[in-house]
Every structure is written in structure tokens, then in C-alpha cells.
Symmetry: C2
Subunit: 153 residues, 2 copies
């Protein structure tokens, strides 16, 4: 079947595995969220913007780890769908505070449930005992170790 050396050369590679698991999940996620008219990335941005305190675009960009120019496009898309609203900050008029609309809040609630369900389904092939460990490992590896950070390096 697919058990030859050439295939093993790939499935033993961490980079290949991470890339393809991510690709597979992105697909599953997009499918689950399609009825809501958003993808996983937009939903994540919406969730971040639904913080207890209104965030500026720069703050949101910092939390998500993208450039401020990228955030412009993300907010444009959400605003175009009527899910968030920009408002000039009264304290610092250079800033936009961006907040979910009522429609955005409702979509967030419902789509988050669909996302959670899609994640659960995606992880189904893993033995019950392995699932938590897998997520814990991902959380550990997603964070750059203190001594490898740009500033302190």
C-alpha cells in the first residue's frame, strides 16, 4: 500500500505531519463553519475582539500575532459581514476600537459550538487517553521558550 520507504520518509517528518494535520483540520473547520459564512481564522479574530474590554486594531493584531496591515483586511471582512463595528476612540483619536455587533455576538455563540464539535470530531481517531496529552503538547510547543525569544536572545 503506502508502506514504502518513500512514504516513510515523509510520515516520519515533523514538518510534514504538522503541515498536513493543519491542512486537514482547516478543511474540516471550514466545512463546519460554512453555514455561518466565516472561516476559522475570522471566527478566532471575532472571539478575540469579544474581549471584556474594547480592543484597538493594534491590540487585536498583537494578540493574534499578525501585522497591523493584516488586521485591517481581517476587520474589513468582518465589518463587511456586519459582525463588528469600528469606532474612533475618544481617548486617542488615532485608534479604532473594534467591537462585535449584536449579530456578531450571536454568530460567535453559535459558531463556537460548531467549532468545538468539529474539533471533537476531528480528534475522534485518537484513543481517549491520548487526546488531552495531544492538546497539552500542542500548547506547550506553541509557545516560544523564554530563552529563545527575539528580545532576550
Amino acid at each position: 500500500m503506502t508502506g514504502d520507504a518513500s512514504t516513510a520518509a515523509l510520515t516520519s517528518r515533523l514538518g510534514y505531519l504538522l503541515k498536513h494535520v493543519h491542512l486537514r483540520f482547516t478543511e474540516a473547520s471550514a466545512q463546519a463553519l460554512a453555514p455561518f459564512g466565516v472561516d476559522g481564522r475570522e471566527l478566532a479574530v471575532l472571539a478575540v475582539l469579544a474581549a471584556d474590554r474594547p480592543l484597538s486594531q493594534m491590540e487585536a493584531a498583537g494578540r493574534i500575532g499578525v501585522d497591523r496591515t493584516t488586521m485591517v483586511a481581517l476587520v474589513d471582512a468582518l465589518e463587511g459581514k456586519g459582525l463588528v463595528a469600528r469606532r474612533r476612540s475618544t481617548e486617542d483619536r488615532r485608534r479604532n476600537t473594534v467591537q462585535p455587533t449584536a449579530k456578531g455576538q450571536e454568530l460567535l455563540r453559535e459558531a463556537e459550538q460548531a467549532r468545538a464539535e468539529a474539533e471533537r470530531r476531528f480528534l475522534t481517531p485518537l484513543p481517549d487517553a491520548d487526546r488531552d496529552g495531544f492538546l497539552r503538547a500542542l500548547r506547550t510547543l506553541a509557545v516560544v521558550p523564554e530563552d529563545e525569544r527575539p528580545e532576550s536572545g
Copy 2:
């Protein structure tokens, strides 16, 4: 620190975690392979092309899971670095067989060691007991389940 709700909204997301772990590893991998003048993707292609039997570009594309037009660019890059050689197949003159050069074979051996070392280092933050389980989980999730495949669906 980073323990607010807005951050939790991200670190509990499978898509976000997979994306960022992959990004972090791609960086680490690129750094480890820089002395060899290749990145992880090129090294993976080179490893696949070093099969026991010479592969055509289509065969290589199929194993790696990319389009044949993407394979053209990948082989162009490897050929430009003198790591592989194209040869018109004598059996079917539409096909190129692509094989590593002597230089490519040597680089493959040495760079593969650097890659393995980089992977080991990247997984260091995980407790010893969790490492094998993590890789096993990735291998499980990288494969599309039988009943979700395009053809049989």
C-alpha cells in the same frame, strides 16, 4: 501576563495551535538547515526522490501531495543547486525521471542528521513520556479516514 480571556480564546483553538506549532517548527527547521542551503520542504522532496527506484515528477508529486506544476518549481530549485538531475525516460519519453546527484546524496545524508537533531530539540519541552504519543497522534490525524476520502465518499 497572557492569561486573559482573549488569549485563552486562542490557545484553546486546535487550528491556532496547529498553525503556530507548525510556524515555530518551520523556523527552527529553516535555521538548522540553512548551512546546507535548503529548507525542510526541499529536503523532503530530495528524500522522496532518493527512492530505490527512479521516480517521475508526477510520481513524486503524488507522494508529496502537490500539484505537478508545483513539482516543476521544486525540481527546478533542486536542479539549480545541483542536487538532482532530470533525465528523459527511455520507456516513456513524456516522462522525466529525477534522481539525486552524488552531491545531492551527500547533502541528503548530512542534512537529514541536522533535521533529526532539530526535531529532537524542538520536542525537548515535552515530558519524555509524552513525546512518542504526540508523534503517534500526529501520524493518526495526518491520514484522512477511509470513509472520508473523496472517491469513496
